[in-house]
Amino acid sequence: MNPSLGAPERTGSEDQALGVLVEELTARLQAGEPVDVQAFIRGHPEHAAELRQLLPALHVLADLGHSADGDATAAGRPTVAAADVMGTLGDFRIVREIGRGGMGVVYEAVQISLGRRVALKVLPFAGRWIPSSCSASKTSPRRRPGCTTPTSCRSTSWAASAECTSMPCSSSRARPSPP
């Protein structure tokens, strides 16, 4: 391989080998693993020149990836003190009970994977994984995405292990319609 950075002549097999090295570096950087770059380059002298050249771009892209990951879990999502948590149900951390009716119970909860506060309606017939049986729960109430009052929000989630629906809430004090 011609190490000239201007117009290197490369073969397909050289590109393949370098591509594997770049993939290894990418995976390690994305995992947040400390990488001894100089040692890595010394270990692959035949690709040293181009590895040195590509490293800045790789670092920038790793930073982009970490920023993206951070944005997905960034602040602004509701957090709940452990002492406030009543328990968990699937992807939901239950904070408190906010309503109860003949067909089920509504809890204030936090959807763990998305970090958002929701109203969680739990029906007492857990364990039946029949989508059609959940259709009423999935569609009621369903007026618009997001909500300022749970009575006008849409169902956005339902779990297979227990029949429940969740509705994103902006006010934990607002009361949803009876389940």
């Binding site: 591509g19 993939e23 490293l55 800045p56 990836g65 920023s67 944005d71 997001g146 297979a160 994103p168």
Partner: protein
């Protein structure tokens, strides 16, 4: 980060295929965060003003539950690329209904459905470099953002898409191969090619970034 190739995922798929409902739920829930991140990255700004990425995630998962039995029979793709494709299809459909329909209603010129990454990638750098700690760090990131934004915009679509898949969605090569319908080896060489082109656009300016 879980990937479609993780033994746990394979085990869950086997259990789900045997009718284990909890395994079905675990399969879907474990990828929810990645899915949301992908959708948030690729969601058109006009669409994002109307709905949250989380809503698209939930609709995608509901569709996935409906289609899971057929997927488990055929397994045409690794699991996460399959789930991701459902989300892309949903996003494309929403874009068509909400954004393009709106364009038609005001009698503007109708365009083809934009490639999601093509349109939103131009804003990626702006969104992703938004965070920063100290004022000097923010300033430095701000400068870098402009450079990266320009470079991404100038990259050819296939190169940009590869970088988005590998570095922003952080898909492993195996999953990228499934998404693009190419071999893993081709992913390595295309990734290398995209990096070279990005370097050609950024190279000298990033000289100081080298550790």
């Amino acid at each position: 980060m879980m990937t479609a190739g993780d033994p746990d995922t394979d085990q869950l798929l086997d259990r789900a295929g045997q009718g284990d409902l909890l395994a079905c739920q675990q399969l879907l829930l474990r990828h929810r965060r990645r899915l949301r991140q992908m959708i948030a990255l690729r969601m058109d700004r006009r669409l994002a003003a109307r709905m949250d990425a989380s809503d698209v995630v939930q609709e995608t998962l509901a569709e996935a539950i409906r289609r899971l039995p057929a997927y488990l029979r055929d397994r045409p793709l690794p699991f996460y690329p399959w789930l991701r494709q459902l989300a892309i299809d949903r996003l494309t459909d929403l874009h068509r209904r909400h954004v393009q329909a709106q364009k038609r209603s005001v009698r503007r010129e109708e365009r083809r459905v934009p490639t999601l990454s093509g349109e939103s990638a131009l804003e990626l750098a702006g969104r992703l470099f938004a965070r920063g700690s100290s004022p000097s760090a923010r300033l430095r990131r701000e400068e870098l953002r402009g450079r990266v934004q320009t470079a991404l915009a100038r990259l050819a679509e296939p190169d940009r898409e590869l970088l988005v898949l590998r570095h922003l969605e952080q898909l492993p090569a195996r999953d990228i191969a499934a998404v693009l319908g190419i071999t893993e080896g081709a992913v390595y060489t295309r990734h290398l090619r995209a990096l070279r082109r990005l370097h050609d656009l950024l190279g000298d300016e990033l000289g100081g970034e080298e550790p």
